[in-house]
Structure formats: C-alpha cells, structure tokens
Symmetry: D2
Subunit: 360 residues, 4 copies
Amino acid sequence: MSSWGKHIHISVFGESHGAAIGVVIDGLPAGETIDLDALLLQMARRAPGRDKAATPRSEADTPEFLSGLLNGTTTGAPLCAVIRNTNTRSQDYGNVLTCPRPSHADYTGYVRYGGFNDLRGGGHFSGRLTAPMVLAGAIARQLLARKGVRIAAHIASVGTICDQRFDPINLPDTLMEHLSGTTFGLIDPTKEAPMRDLIEDCRRNGDSIGGTIECAVTGMPAGVGSPMFEGVENILSSLLFGIPAVKGVEFGAGFDGTQLRGSQHNDAFCYENGTIRTKTNHNGGILGGITSGMPILFRVAIKPTPSIAQEQSTVDLQNHCDTTLTIKGRHDPCIVVRAVPVVEAAAALAMLDLLMEVHT
Amino acid sequence: MSSWGKHIHISVFGESHGAAIGVVIDGLPAGETIDLDALLLQMARRAPGRDKAATPRSEADTPEFLSGLLNGTTTGAPLCAVIRNTNTRSQDYGNVLTCPRPSHADYTGYVRYGGFNDLRGGGHFSGRLTAPMVLAGAIARQLLARKGVRIAAHIASVGTICDQRFDPINLPDTLMEHLSGTTFGLIDPTKEAPMRDLIEDCRRNGDSIGGTIECAVTGMPAGVGSPMFEGVENILSSLLFGIPAVKGVEFGAGFDGTQLRGSQHNDAFCYENGTIRTKTNHNGGILGGITSGMPILFRVAIKPTPSIAQEQSTVDLQNHCDTTLTIKGRHDPCIVVRAVPVVEAAAALAMLDLLMEVHT
Amino acid sequence: MSSWGKHIHISVFGESHGAAIGVVIDGLPAGETIDLDALLLQMARRAPGRDKAATPRSEADTPEFLSGLLNGTTTGAPLCAVIRNTNTRSQDYGNVLTCPRPSHADYTGYVRYGGFNDLRGGGHFSGRLTAPMVLAGAIARQLLARKGVRIAAHIASVGTICDQRFDPINLPDTLMEHLSGTTFGLIDPTKEAPMRDLIEDCRRNGDSIGGTIECAVTGMPAGVGSPMFEGVENILSSLLFGIPAVKGVEFGAGFDGTQLRGSQHNDAFCYENGTIRTKTNHNGGILGGITSGMPILFRVAIKPTPSIAQEQSTVDLQNHCDTTLTIKGRHDPCIVVRAVPVVEAAAALAMLDLLMEVHT
Amino acid sequence: MSSWGKHIHISVFGESHGAAIGVVIDGLPAGETIDLDALLLQMARRAPGRDKAATPRSEADTPEFLSGLLNGTTTGAPLCAVIRNTNTRSQDYGNVLTCPRPSHADYTGYVRYGGFNDLRGGGHFSGRLTAPMVLAGAIARQLLARKGVRIAAHIASVGTICDQRFDPINLPDTLMEHLSGTTFGLIDPTKEAPMRDLIEDCRRNGDSIGGTIECAVTGMPAGVGSPMFEGVENILSSLLFGIPAVKGVEFGAGFDGTQLRGSQHNDAFCYENGTIRTKTNHNGGILGGITSGMPILFRVAIKPTPSIAQEQSTVDLQNHCDTTLTIKGRHDPCIVVRAVPVVEAAAALAMLDLLMEVHT
C-alpha cells in the first residue's frame, strides 16, 4: 500500500510516465496557511535539473491543488495535490518487460503484479514518486515550524567522502535554516568539490555512487512517541524505507555505537538552565521510542543509483536465457543529492503525526 | 501502542514487575498444530540465566495459553498467552522516580506518562517484554516452516569482534537450523571465546558492550511485499525498532554498500536451473520493497546495555539538581546474545504477515 | 478521515465547489480490465439531472484517470480518478457561515474546523462526494462480477409508500441486473407513480421526504468475514454511514425481526442439491459476522433532504441570536433515488475488501 | 479480527469454554484511577444469573488485572484483564460439529475456520465475549464521567412491548445514573411486568424473543467526529455490530424518520442561555458524522436468542442430510436484558476514542 499515517494520512499515487502523480493528505488541521513559495522551494530542491550533479531531465513539477485549500488556507478536508507528468520520453521504455534492470524493481514488480504494472520509467516504483512526499512534507514542515520544530538534513557522505557530522548537542537555527533551503547541503563546504568530482567521475564512466544522509530535528518536546511499535524510530523508519534506494536507517550513534561500552555510550542527564538535557546524545534524542527533548538524529543509507550506462548481465524473460542490457535514458549518477529534501519530508511527516498523538 | 500487524495482529502487554506479561495474537489461521517444545526452546534461547554471558536472574517463563488453542491446534480465535512474573525483586526499585538511569526510558517514560508508569524493572519498557514477542514469533516460525521459510540469526559482532557474515547467496539449511536452535549463535565458532572474554571483561568492570545481529530468511517466494510504505523493509523495521536497544537496521549491503559504485553494487540477474536468481545479493533479497526470491538479509544494531554498575551522572528530579547514580540489580553486560532469538521472532512475524497479503 | 479499507483502501477527496473531487484506490489487483462504459453508467445513475425526480443541476462527472490504469487495465499501483467541478454556482453560497442550515453539517463542521472549512455547497460534506464512492464501487463491482458476486438495490420506500421487499431466498440474476442498471429501481413498478407523485408534491411545497433502500448481494461464498469487529455487518456499516443522510442500517429482518420469537426468526438449515442453505433468511446471509452463502440483505434509512425551500428557524452566529433562513439553490426533494447506486457502491467495496481477506 | 480502535485499542480474546476470556486495552491515558467497585457493578449487570429473566448459569466473572494498573491507577501501559471460565459444562457440547444450530455461527464458523474453531458454548462467538467489552467499557465510562460525559441505555422493547422513548432533548442526570446502574432498565417501570411475562412465556414454551435497546450519551461537546468514514455513526456501529445478535443500528429518528418530511425532520437551531441547541433532535446529536452538542441517541436491534429448546430443522454435516436438533443447556430467553450494559460499554469505548482524536 502506498498510504501511510495515523493522524496525518497520506495516500501517494501515480506512475512515472502516466498522466500525473500526486498525493492526498488527510487529517491536516483546518486553518493553517500554506506558504506556496516555501512549498515550491522544497519541491525545487528535489526536482531534477536544478543541480549539475543531477539528471538533466527537467520537470516543471508545479502542483495543482484540487481540494483542501481555500484562499491558501487548509479547510480540514483532505488536500489533494496533482503534479502532471510532462517531460516524459516513454520511447526510452516499452511496457513489455524483457530484461529486468539489475537492482531495480522491474523483476520484483513483474512477479508481484503479474506483468501488468506500468514499467515505463519505473512506474509507481520511480524515484519521481518522492515528489508528492516532498510536497506533503513541505506542508507538514510549515505546521511544525509554528510549533518551533525545525528539520534539516545534509549529505553525510558520497562514497567514502564524508561531510562533518552534526554536533548532536548543539544545532544552531542558522545551520538548520541554511541546510533546509539549499540543494547540495553540507556542514563542511570544502567537501562539495571532492564530492562533485567523484559524482562526475561516475557519470563519465557510466557508473553511479551511493551515500548517506544525516538528518536532525530540533524543537521536539520531550515525551513524544510510544514504547514498542509506535516509537519514534518505528514511525520514522516506516516512512524512510518508503524512499527508493534507502537500505539502512540508524539513530544516534547507530551501528558505530555498538562498538562502545555502556560507560561511553550512556547519555548522562544534567540540568541546564533548569531544563533536563543529556551531556552527550548517542541515543539520537530517543529513549524507549520516546523523545528526550534532545535533537533527534538519524542517518539513512542510499544505495548507488541502479540505472547505470555500463552494460550489465541480466535475464531475458521472454526467451528464458541470460543476456546483457545497456540502459538508456537520463539518470542521476548519485541520487543522494536529491534525496536530502525527501528525507527531510519524511521526517516532517513523522514528527507531525507523532505530535498529533495525544495522551490525555 | 504496543500492538502491531495487519494480518497477524499482536498486542503485547505487561510490565516487568507486574503480575504477568503476555501477548494476544489475532489472525492466526485455524488448524495449525503448535509444537509446544519447539516454542519453549525459542523462549529458552531468550530467557536469562541460560547462558553464562547473561543475567543470573532465572525465570520460568512458561506460558499459559488462555485461548486460541484447542488440543494443541489453533482455533482461529485470538490466541492469548500469559507469562507470570515470579522471580522479581522489586525492592531493587522503588516506584518514585528520583534519578532517571542514563540511556534508559525512565525519564522519557516519566514525561510521557506523567510519572504514573510502573518504573519497577523498567515496567513496560523492560527487555522482558521481548518474551511475548519470542513466543509469538515461535508460533509464526512454525507456520512458516510448513511453507518452506526458514529464519536464523547470529551474533554478527560484539564490540569490535566480528563473526563471519552470512554468504548472501548460499545459506544451507543445516546452518539455518543450527543457528535457530542455539544460544550463542555464530558462524565462526572460534569467535565465541574472544566475544565471551570481552563480555566478561565488561561485567568485571561494571560496564557493558553493544553489538550487531545478522538475520537471514530463506525460502520466501519472489513477489511478496509492496512498494512505498508496505515494503518488506518498512514492515520488518516497524517491528525491529520495537525491540529495546535496537538503534539501527540495514538490509543487504546496507551502510557499507553506500561506498560502492553501481557497477559493483548492482545484483546481476541470471538463470540457475530455470530459476531467476541474482549473482550477488547486495540488496538483501528486496527490490522496491518486494522480495526477489533471494535470501532476505538484514543487520540490527544493539546499543550497549544501559544498566551498568559504574557510578553515572544524572539528575535528581525531586530536588532539581545534578547528582550521581549507582544502579543495583542483575543486568546483562551484553544484551546482544539474548536478542538473537528476538530478532528472529520479529522476522518471523513480519514474514508471516507479508505472506498473508494476497494480491488477487 | 475520509479514507477507508484494509485490502482495498480508498481515500476520497474534494469539496463540492472546489476545483475537483476524486478518489485514490489502493490495493486493486493488477491485470483487471475496467469497462469504462459500465463505470460511466454507474456514475450516471447517481448523477443529478438524469431523472426528473432529482435536482436539475447537471454535471458531466466524467472522471479522468491519473494513475493505476494502463490501456484500460489496472497496473496494481494506486488508481487516482479525478472529477472536475464545472457547473457550480458559488454565488448561491458565501464562505462566511452566518446561519447554519438545519440538519446540515454547517454548524458541526464550523465547530469541528473552526470556521475554516469550505462551506460552499456543503464542501467536503456534500452529497457530491458520493460520486467518487460510486466510481470506486463501479470498479469493485466489475471485479466482483468476475467472481460471480452481484449487487443490486432498489427504492424500498419513499415516505410511507413501500416497494415490495426482496425475496430473501431467491434473487434471480435478471432482477439483480435490471436493478443495478436503472435509475428509479423498483421491484414492483406500479409503485413508481405514487412515489413520484409524493416527491413532486414535496417539491411543490418546498419540502422533502426520506425513504429506505434495500440492497442484496448474491454469489458471496460462505465463510467470509470475521467475528466481533471485522464482521460483514461492521465493515458494511462503516462504509454505509459514510453516505450523507444515512441514519440507520439493518441486516436481514433487522428491527422488525426483534418482534419475532426465536422459533419464527431462526433460519433452519437444509440441503438443497447438495448445498447447505437456510429455508428462511432472517439473518440476511450473515451469522456471527460471517457469510452463510445465502443472499446478503440489508436496508438503509435515508433521512429527508435537509435542504428545503421553506423558511426555517436557525441561529445567526455573527449576532448570536435566533433568526430564520430560506435556502436557495437546486436541491433534490428526495435523495433516496440517487442514493441507490451509492449504497450498491458501498456494498461492492465492502464485499471486495472482505473477499481479499485470506485465512490460510 | 477481534481488535478495535484507533486511540483506545482493545483486543478481545477467549472462548466460552476455554481457560479464560479477557481483553487488552492499549492507549489508556496514564494516571487514571479505576474504581473497581464501579467496574464490577457494570460486569454484574451483564453477568448471567443476576436477574430472573436471564440464564441460571452463574459466573463469578471477577477479572484479574495482569498489567496496566498500579495501585488502582492506570500506568499508561496496555491493561490486560483476564476472566477465568469456571462454571462451564462442556459435556453439553462436543467439539465435533455434526448439526449446526440454526441462527448461530456454528456453520459459518465451521466454514471460516475449517472445523478447527472451538465449538463448545459458541467458542469465540459466544455472548460471553461481551464480558471483556463491558469491562473495557466500564473503564472508559469512568474516564468519560470525569469529562462530564454520561451514558445510559434502557430496554426500548421486548417483542412488541415498548418502553417509553428517551426525551431526545432533555435527559436528566438522575435518569442517566439510574439506568446505568440497574439490571432491568426502563423509563416507564410499568412495562417491567408485561415484559417479564412475555419473556417467561417464551421460556416456558422453549422459545425466545428479541427486542431493542435505546442508548443516550449526554455531555459530548459539539465538534467531535469526522466526515465520511470516521464519523460518530461509523465508529459506533463498527463496535455495536461486534455484539452478538445485533442486527440493526439507527441514530435519532432513524428508520421512522424516513417517513417524515424535511420540514418535520429538520432540527431547527436556537440559542438557549447563550448555547446553540436544536429544538428537536431527530438527528440524534450527529450531523455530518460530527456531534452537535445535543444528546447522542441511537437504537440497536437484538434478534431473538437463537438457542431455543424447541426441536429445529438443521443439517447433519457428517452424513450430508437434513435432520432435527434439540438444543440442551441453559439459555436466556431474551438476551436484550443483559445486552443493555454491553451497548453502553460499546458507546463508552466509541466516545472515548472519538474524544481522543485531536484536530489541532
């Protein structure tokens, strides 16, 4: 199912080369003014062709709002936004699946849907379906900002080239605002050049490269979330693994933290100006599934773009034999760059949903 | 909420030092014979005191089945199993939270529940609540075995000491069966001694250590799961992050895979005895949220046990000042060992739920 | 929330005088051919202006399919259909709620959404939102027909004028097909004239009238549905009460059956050509929430259209005083006629969802 | 599935003649004191043998609380309550289904569960499973009372003998309190004798009789509930149809109201001491799925108890032929009496769930 959420319920639809993609957002509070420019900024961050590291396929991606908005304000009814597919080159793809692209969902979708799924451009599996997620997240983040919650992510690594990590204790608003409005977000700007060089090298070689994204949420009050299956980690990851190419999610110190001793990893509590905080933040702001009031921190692993220009081994489903495949079309050599606002959008939706759970 | 699942719905209840813990499992098919010995074996793998690396607190953990079973066979009605809490030493804990234990849910639970939650032994946040999960998973795994699905996990690392990884292509039944029935499961048995030494060293120093668990599922047919929010990764992680101390989940090559190029990471398709397989398995058997027919592989990060004997800094909630805390009681210096069957149980529940989704 | 369903998940959006209304249908099996003409026939049955008993407001109501369909066949991805609002006369309504219309959702929506909901034409509460339900139901009924399941409803009563009831045991396919394709469906055609006279009388007097709809489902196998909260009655009613103006739902003998003795009401089992059937069908084909294989029968109560031309007492929310109101605009004096295909659509969605629950 | 609820989630388990029945209630706010005597009073109202109109089978029905309560106060963790089955006479039933009892779920359960369900005493379909619902409702009603919400029901009819209806506008607290604490609740006490006579007559004749229950909720604020599928009617009916023998639900004027003209049925708004109210209440306090602030009123149809002593026609499933059946055991000739607190419990759970939905 392509729907998600308990309080803020989203239903994402569309195929890459169909008529349109879009999202229905149900459960939005009424009376919230939506800043359309801010929303379009978020969509532009994800859109291809805005950054030379991305695919040259340029989409307008201007959403039409069919419902739920009146004079720029939410009505409380389900909000439906539609983005038309315009610049599609379907001739790049047929709809008879002969040779599934390695590491794509071609083959698994073929089995799952008995060959009836729209294969063109990846269909419903396409990364293009993250556009409605960013749109929904852009609305969520505007509501969150009114509650003092900020969300920002950066390119934590491309291949083995790493950006600096967030300071897990101290996340200045200026940094959060800078990152959440830019397209190649880094904490250490000196890493941009080597990262771009690596991506360019991959493009030239008909290859691609993976990376990681680190995301931070500030301003969440303590006490949000629930133990076991509705914890902050559960809810966040249920959305994050909905982003194509995401293969891992870790919170706080995550996998690295497993090498620490408890005496190193434990976050000691302390009072700071009358507020309870922790001196370190190896738990990424979450204890027992519930926010501690510290910044929420998580990292997401993005696999290398599976669409590469190099010839690859695959099977011929018609003739039941091994064969080779050369993928045509325009593809990002590193999807990490454009995935940054998608990860932020997922975080925004998760945080809004969590904040709407009331316990009294 | 402590309930989970679409087709197999579990509702976990209980507090560590309350009368009992347990689980209601709704949606089980009728007519399935439950092998009670096999179920108790799984529970014994998780139970404390069975392995010298674990806490000496010994619990009977013998479940009573209140409903859903008749003559050892499922009736189709919700199955409720209850495990009494017997060997509790509540005097180790009071129920007035004065000093929250670092890295525990004491403080977040206190804020979330306004101080009314049962603090004794961690209450509903206790690792003891994984016993009902193992019980439910033990039932699920018996049903899965009848469909040819096997699940096994091993201790992938304790601190920096690593076991060998699963061969992502070839997972012999003998290995799967050995691991899913043992208590200190390793692929490379020579790693047991250094791991135990490290754990013992932590114990002696009043400290603890984290680790990782790798889990494999074999026999899942291709085409199971859905794109976006009901993919295999989403469903698995929504359960896995319900296990206390889990701070990260990755599938296939996961975070390491982000350093690869597409030409390295992509899993080429090929025919093998008429069946479509992939030559490598960096995607961990999942493409676009849907199974590919290859083994499903994932790793879970377990943080170091937060309960350590060393003195720690914390706050005094009554007097609103900083203070120190020394935790008494019996605690595992490395929870990884006992978490192995819990991770398997989560995998079993997720797989059964996924297999019960029908698309026609 | 305006979303519904476990296996077939619908998300309805739109406001009566906004840009468009529509629905996202998630969970449809792939590879199902959709007969567009049959779909449009169902929508025409609900559309206003097709029958002289209905409002003269004529809408094209031609849906555009944005996703989920390729060459007229379902792809398995969420299907989004959009119906533009064209013939709207918003000047009939302002968006400042001064005087709530009695028996409408104006006042309750005003409180619920803090005055931000789109009031024009009833907004999201409008009966027009049943168009997407009919569309979704028209798809569901095509899939059901391939499984031998038929759905038909008729006007059981308008005011005190009653049509004949369905024979609860014997429902010929010819009757089912006739009713499910017509616009003023009756079993006894001699009741059309008096019903139309009564409706016309109401119209002339600026008044309206209620009625009941009886619906039958044939061809459902025995053993579908679950006890307690996922029974056939629960699932059907959760949809039926989503139709505006529905104030009651009863199954089989329903309220009348409460006056019978058990010896009269009990449906005796018998073999008929090797198949188990019941001699009577007071339970409407449902026992313990589960289908018995007999026709499923239920009745729905539709209150009189609240929009009447007569002057009515209401309050002035701006001046906080009592006042009177005369509603302008075009309104059905009897919504029952157009609600018949909506009730069928709800039944179709419920039956498809129930059939997709698999128990093994 | 036997679980229900979005904010207050209940999971009911047990079979009539198994070890125990019970319920897990998840989502209860922490810190709520539970009055155990008030809870037991509600359970006693439902228990058999307390009223001469009911079955002589006497059950202790004293629940044991396994979790979620500490010193009589909710901890916020899932609350599990277990009721042991003691006074069972399983010899009255075998577990091989030969002859399904007419109007019972024997046959449909047999098909649904492939013959593996626990048939003894109706198993999970038994009316005894309403005991955990009453328990959960008794907790919900205590929380509601603290918010000024009261719930009461009465026997509206037994056969054709009718009690007076609630005044839909004016429901004094004294009446609400009286009804919600008694066992043969009537507004007009003179109807008790003829109702009891009718019931006794049915018992003497080995027969049974149906009836209706009317329920009122006072004190619900305006603006609670949502349009379409999460309206007050949808949520209430999704629970009410989970009560065995319920075959119809109507709100406000319900089916009778369909005979009225709009000018008669519409509820005019007026100010009363500065508060907006309606002069009549034909809509039962609900407009567009949302509360209007007026009393919520609904009626429930209860079919005659299917277990009657008279010989009945049925089939022999073993020998595939028609046969007759005489049901032994102790059965209520009129289940309506004991269903009154169950209907109230369902209303309490629905109201609490609705009130916990927050829209801002």
